[in-house]
Each structure stands twice: as structure tokens, then as C-alpha cells.
Amino acid sequence: MLDKNFKTLAQFLLPALLVLAGLYLAVQAGGAVFPLILSAALAYLLNPMVRYFEVRGIKRLYAVVGLYAAAGAALAAVVYLLVLFLSFEMESLRETWPLYARQLEAFVLGLNAKMVTSYPMLSGLNLPEKMNRLLAAGPAFILGLLPMLSLLFLVPFITFFVLLGGSGIIDYILDHIPARHSEIVLHVTSRIDESLGNYLRGILTEAFVIFLIAFTGLVLMGINYASAIAIIIGFSSLVPYLGAFVGAALASVVAYFQFGTFLAVFKVLAFFAGIRFFDDWFLQPYIMKRAVKLNPAVIVFALMAGWELGGIWGVVFSIPVTCIIKETLAIAIELQETEFQWKPAPEPTRISIPYT
């Protein structure tokens, strides 16, 4: 009996040691692992497209190469259009920036003077100095983002090889566990894949639709820097609830300085409130129908925890990771109920009625 127990323990020893060694290496390697995680995430997002061609008879290698060629061409077109739009806007921003900066300074100074006169205790806030510090920190923040540009080349390169490998890792694991457990492992992975995949595809579609609506609306209202603002809205929409708020804040500031009236700000706010309702009532119920449902409180907690753990990338990955945790918990509870029969399954009808 003792010998059998030892054997059972011994067979898990090597895999457990390998997993621990892998985790230790990942922690020690730190930043080097990060592009790998990003690549794995990107490969996961692109895999359905490769699979689409694979089930239609195209060999995986050619499907991946074709996808990269098409994505490269599409990306080049998008970058060209963006540069075209943004270069006009950047040029105009460069020309008008001194005026806007003076207006902003005058606005903050005026607001500060009014507030300090009415509420003297607010003088401690020292708003003008804070604003100057914020404006000075801007270029440093942008420079700090430059090292991330290397990811633009590294991530697609690693992703290519991850995509070529396909489901090789899962197959390898399945080949080295008792065959009887393949069904449950595939059940768990397909459940997580289903809900996480639906969530990610849903949120990407949602962000793109919001970008398009915001861009069209801002252009029609004649707001300056419409494409730049719409791009920021599109990206911030990847974080639930953030897109419309960021858009409303940015576009309101631009509208105020451009038109100098609160009516313009009111129009912008009404437009973004419309986007928020459209998103809540029409987009989400349709796009996210089959995705994991996350409570807004859980989303806020996940975003804060993500920020604490991994900064901006922690925020980006927080929601997908929360989806995985939620689905895993749901599966664990279901397994307890089915495998250990915590509670009897309800009968769909009175089964004592004979078969007729």
C-alpha cells in the first residue's frame, strides 16, 4: 500500500518540478517573458482566422503566411490613412498649440483665482503649479513609451511561430496524461475558449464600432482632431465603460477651446451619452450575448488589481484573466456537483410516465 502511494506521488514529482522550474525561470526572466505573453495572446486572437482557412483545406503554414500578408497589407493601408489624417491634425495642433496652451493657462488661472477668493482654504491645492508640472511631464511620458515600439516588431515575429505550432502544446499535454482524462481536459479548455474567445472578439468589435461612430460624429460636429480623439476612444473602449468617458472628456475640452461656448460642450456630452446608451442597449446585448457576464463592480476591481500588479499592461490583461478565473470557478463548481453529486440533477419531466 505504502509502495503504491509512493509510486502515485513519484509520477507527479517530475511534472511538478518542471512546472516549478518554468515558473522560477519566468519570474527571473521578468521583462523577457512579457513579449511571449503578448504574442500568445495575439496568437489566440488570430487563431480562429487561421482555423477558418484550415477547415477549408488550406495547410496551416500557408494559412498563417497568407494571414500575415493580408494583415500586413491592411495594416500598411491603415497606417497610411492614419498618417494622412493625423499629419494634418498634428500640423494644425503644432500651429494652434501655443494659443490653446495660453487659453488653458488663462482658464486654470482664472478658475484658481475665483476658487481661492470664494474658498481660501483651496489655495493649498496650488492648481497652476500642478498644471505646469503635468504639462512638463507629458513629453517624458511619451518618450517613456518609445521602448514599447520594439514590441511592434518582436511580437508579430514570435506570434508567427506560435501560430504555426497551433494546438501543439495542448496535444503534447494530452499525450502525456492518462487517455481517460482527455475528455475532461478538452471539456474545460473548450469551455474557457468559448467564453473568453466570445468576450475578446466581442470587445474588439465593440471598440471598432464605437471608434467608427465617434469618428463620424466628431467629423460631422466639426470638432478638431476628430481622428486622433476617435483612435484614443477606440483603444480606451477595450477597457469596459472607459471609452465613452475618455471620449467625452477629451472632445469636451477640445470643443470648449475651439468654439469657446458651453453649448458646444453640451452637444459633445449629449453625443457621448448617446454612444453610451447605444452601447449598453444595442451593441452589448447583441455582441456580448455569448460571452462571460462580468458584474461592473468586478470589472472595476479587476482593473484596479491589474493596475497594481502590472501597470497599463496589467489593466489590458485584467479583464481576460478575470474571464478565465470566472469560467474556471464556474466549471469547478459544476464539477463538484456532477462528479461528487452534491445535489441531484433536476428531472426535465416526470420520468415515470412510460415511453409511448
Binding site: 482555423r51 477558418y52 484550415e54 477547415v55 477549408r56 483545406g57 488550406i58 495547410k59 500557408y62 494530452l174 492518462p178 487517455a179 481517460r180 482527455s182 475528455e183 475532461i184 478538452l186 471539456h187 473548450s190 469551455r191 468559448e194 450575448k289 455569448r290 459544476e334 456532477t338 462528479e339 440533477a345 415511453y355
Partner: protein, 161 residues
């Protein structure tokens, strides 16, 4: 032609042709069978490997693509698994798992190297949602097959009474 055969995977065409012959997918067009194939998981079992044991919770329907599978039932008196039936390529088993997650009533093991397709409940639900026409065909075929198997069992039970 040479380049085309390099790019094109003949195996996929064979799989689609194979799925056309499965009764569960009868009535689904060849073009739509691509979506069915997309929802299936492939797995190879070596000779003697247990696919599932009697009493395990069922979660997938198995379609035998190649190789033979033996279904076994435990004899309560001897405590040994006795062969119940043999599944040949083109046949399927474990369809109850698509309806409810209940313990398997028999065990299954590969009698030789066997390739199977597995259809999980989540994937069937996804098919029903995304491609209702395909989902409805599978659901109605499933109901017919279950009804036929239930009728056969009832008739066998009444004959033995």
C-alpha cells in the same frame, strides 16, 4: 496543379466526405459541414487506451473516424469489464452527453489505434446559436436516434418479460 496540391490539404476533404456519411449530420450541406468540422475536436487513442470508464461523467459525443472501439460493461458479480459492442468507423456513441452530464452507462476503450472526433455540448450550443439551421438538423437527428434506441431497448425489455 503542383502548387495547389502543396497548399491544399487532401485530409480535410476526406474528413468532410466522412462527415457526410454520418447519420447525425444527415441533411446538412457539404458547405455547412465545414462549420461542423470546425466544432469537432480530433484525438487519437492508442491500442488499449481507455477513452472513458463506466461511471465517468459524459461530456462529449464520440465519432469513430478510423480504428475499432470496444464498449464494455462491468459485470457486478465478477467485477470485470465485459465487451458489450464494437464500434466501427462511421459510427458514433456517447450521444447522451450532449443532453445532460450524467455518468456513462458503459466504458469505451480503443481496440486498435483509433482516431475519433469529439463533439462537446458547448460546441453544439455554439452551433445552435451561430448556425441555427445546422443546429436544428443535429438536434432533430439526435432526437430520432435517441427515440430509436429507446424503442429498441423497451421492445427488448418487453420481449424478455
Amino acid at each position: 496543379m503542383g502548387i495547389f496540391s502543396n497548399i491544399y490539404d487532401e485530409g480535410t476533404l476526406r474528413k468532410i466526405e466522412f462527415l457526410r456519411r454520418i447519420r447525425l449530420f444527415e441533411g446538412i450541406s457539404k458547405k455547412s459541414l465545414i462549420h461542423v468540422l470546425e466544432s469537432l475536436q480530433e484525438r487519437t487513442y492508442l491500442k488499449g487506451e481507455t477513452i472513458f470508464a463506466e461511471g465517468d461523467i459524459g461530456r462529449a459525443l464520440f465519432i469513430d473516424f478510423s480504428g475499432k472501439i470496444t464498449l464494455t460493461k462491468l459485470n457486478p458479480e465478477t467485477g470485470k469489464a465485459e465487451p458489450l459492442a464494437e464500434v466501427a468507423p462511421g459510427e458514433f456513441f456517447g450521444e447522451m452527453a450532449l443532453l445532460e452530464e450524467m455518468p456513462r452507462s458503459a466504458g469505451a476503450a480503443a481496440a486498435e489505434e483509433t482516431q475519433v472526433f469529439m463533439l462537446f455540448k458547448t460546441k453544439l450550443e455554439s452551433l445552435l446559436f451561430s448556425y441555427p439551421r445546422i443546429g436544428v438538423v443535429i438536434a432533430s437527428q439526435l432526437a430520432r436516434i435517441l427515440s430509436a434506441r429507446l424503442r429498441a431497448r423497451t421492445e427488448k425489455a418487453s420481449a424478455s418479460d
